[in-house]
């Protein structure tokens, strides 16, 4: 573009070239750096999804233990609040001696954050099951396990997925801080964009983060509708 402007004297081309002007919005940037953007987006999605899935797999047994053993409930919820209070940059830094400058550091940190949201969601969901329903289930001959999986869990599903949506959306945003250990997905592009004062890169990567969060949110909402056909058309 610059070359063409110099040779042909097309000053207009230079003025329109958003890369040269360092504009915030620049289709030319998206076109020429598509590979880089795709790679960062894939890494971002991978870190987010792995973290939330591990978080969910750990949250379920933890919440069930908290429900069974009353004394552990306060301890587990208190620990969750404490972890939630620790800023992400500090949490990743505290993990540094154990997992070093790796993607694992970011994933462990994000798992801890999603855990705090998900344990609460599981407990709130199960607490919300009316006692009469539980009684009816027992009367129909469900074992404690059968009652949990066939009656309580399905009824707790809206709250569970609500928690999963909050955990997922915040994890997408928090992944950007992973750039401090070199694994921040789109956060890495924001960081290098800051260092080189490259506005298009910063804005494009930021917008992509928000888009990923919204898309995953809609996917989870769709999953809830799919899993609970009896609630379709009603209030979500």
């Amino acid at each position: 573009m610059i070359g063409r402007a110099l040779i042909g004297g097309h000053a207009q081309t230079v003025a329109d070239d958003c890369l040269v002007r360092n504009a915030w919005v620049c289709p030319e940037y998206v076109r020429t750096r598509a590979d880089e953007l795709t790679a960062a987006t894939v890494e971002h999605l991978r870190i987010t999804i792995i973290s939330v899935i591990i978080g969910a797999l750990l949250a379920l047994p933890l919440a069930l233990v908290a429900r069974r053993i009353h004394r552990l409930r306060a301890t587990i919820l208190g620990t969750a609040t404490a972890i939630y209070t620790i800023p992400s940059l500090a949490l990743f830094s505290l993990l540094l001696p154990f997992t070093g400058l790796t993607e694992t550091t970011v994933i462990v940190g994000l798992v801890l954050y999603s855990l705090t949201v998900l344990v609460r969601a599981v407990l709130a969901g199960l607490d919300g099951v009316p006692e009469e329903v539980r009684g009816a289930g027992r009367g129909m001959g469900y074992s404690p396990n059968g009652l949990l999986w066939r009656v309580e869990m399905p009824l707790a599903l809206p709250v569970l997925i609500g928690g999963l949506r909050i955990a997922t959306v915040s994890t997408v945003a928090l992944t950007t801080i992973g750039t401090i250990v070199g694994s921040g997905g789109l956060g890495d592009l924001i960081q290098t964009g800051l260092q080189s004062n490259f506005k298009a890169q910063v804005l494009t990567a930021s917008v992509l983060c928000v888009v990923i969060a919204l898309v995953l949110d809609v996917v989870l909402l769709g999953t809830q509708r799919f899993l609970m056909p009896w609630r379709r058309g009603g209030v979500a």
Binding site: T85, P87, S88, L89, A173, T176, A205, C209
Partner: protein, 225 residues
């Protein structure tokens, strides 16, 4: 576990307790911008939330703003503001603006919900006693909403402390700067020590705010029964 010794040694080094990169100075910067931002966010968010709750309008906005706030990375907003033209750019204005933006949603949402969900019977009784709108808001709705309102301020305080830490990534000061300095010089002890300071600050603020939330609640005696 040799790293623990390194961290202890870092804390014992008097050099880390003085000068522009010392713990006291960094703590002061951190608390300073955080308090300023939280104050501004309260001044903007509480009146708007009170009003929207009082007239039972704009619920979608008051709640939606929290959901949007969650989806936007704080780091991205900080960087965008730093690269933005005057009065933003690499300045305290940018950092405080970002902190206010992320402190507002929980304050606005909780204040709105607190007032909106006050028992209509209580409001009716107050009106029957001859109170006008502002009196109902000040004497009935606000006291009954205080616990939830302060819960929002508490969430906002936690968010502000966290975002002020991240501000160090875009060349802000505060305790986060100890962490980023450590990464810059590949000094793991300094990174962990900085993170430890941030944790102590965040947990203390959370504790103080939890206490405030309970103390300021005019209904705490009623709730205790």
């Amino acid at each position: 576990m040799g790293w623990i010794g390194g961290v202890v040694a870092w804390f014992q080094d008097p050099a880390n307790w003085q000068g522009p990169n010392g713990i006291p100075q960094r703590l002061l910067e951190h608390v300073g911008v955080s308090a300023a931002a939280l104050g501004i966010a309260c001044l903007i968010g509480i009146p708007i939330g009170l009003w929207l709750g009082h007239v039972h309008r704009g619920g979608g906005l008051a709640v939606g703003v929290s959901n949007v706030g969650r989806a936007v990375p704080t780091f991205a907003v900080l960087v965008i503001l730093v690269l933005a033209p005057e009065p933003f750019g690499l300045s305290t204005v940018s950092i405080i603006t970002a902190l206010v933006l992320f402190a507002l949603p929980p304050i606005l949402t909780n204040t709105y919900l607190g007032v909106n969900e006050v028992d209509p019977a209580a409001v009716d009784a107050a009106r029957g006693m001859g109170m006008n709108g502002p009196q109902v808001l000040a004497k009935v709705e606000l006291p009954m909403a205080t616990s939830l309102l302060m819960g929002g301020v508490r969430l906002a305080a936690v968010q502000v402390i966290a975002t002020a830490t991240i501000a160090a990534l875009v060349a802000g000061g505060g305790l986060g700067a100890i962490i980023t300095n450590g990464f810059g010089t590949q000094d793991q002890a300094e990174v962990v020590a900085g993170a430890f300071c941030v944790c102590v600050l965040a947990l203390s603020i959370e504790g103080v705010m939890a206490l405030l939330q309970r103390r300021l609640d005019p209904l705490r005696v009623v709730r205790a029964r």
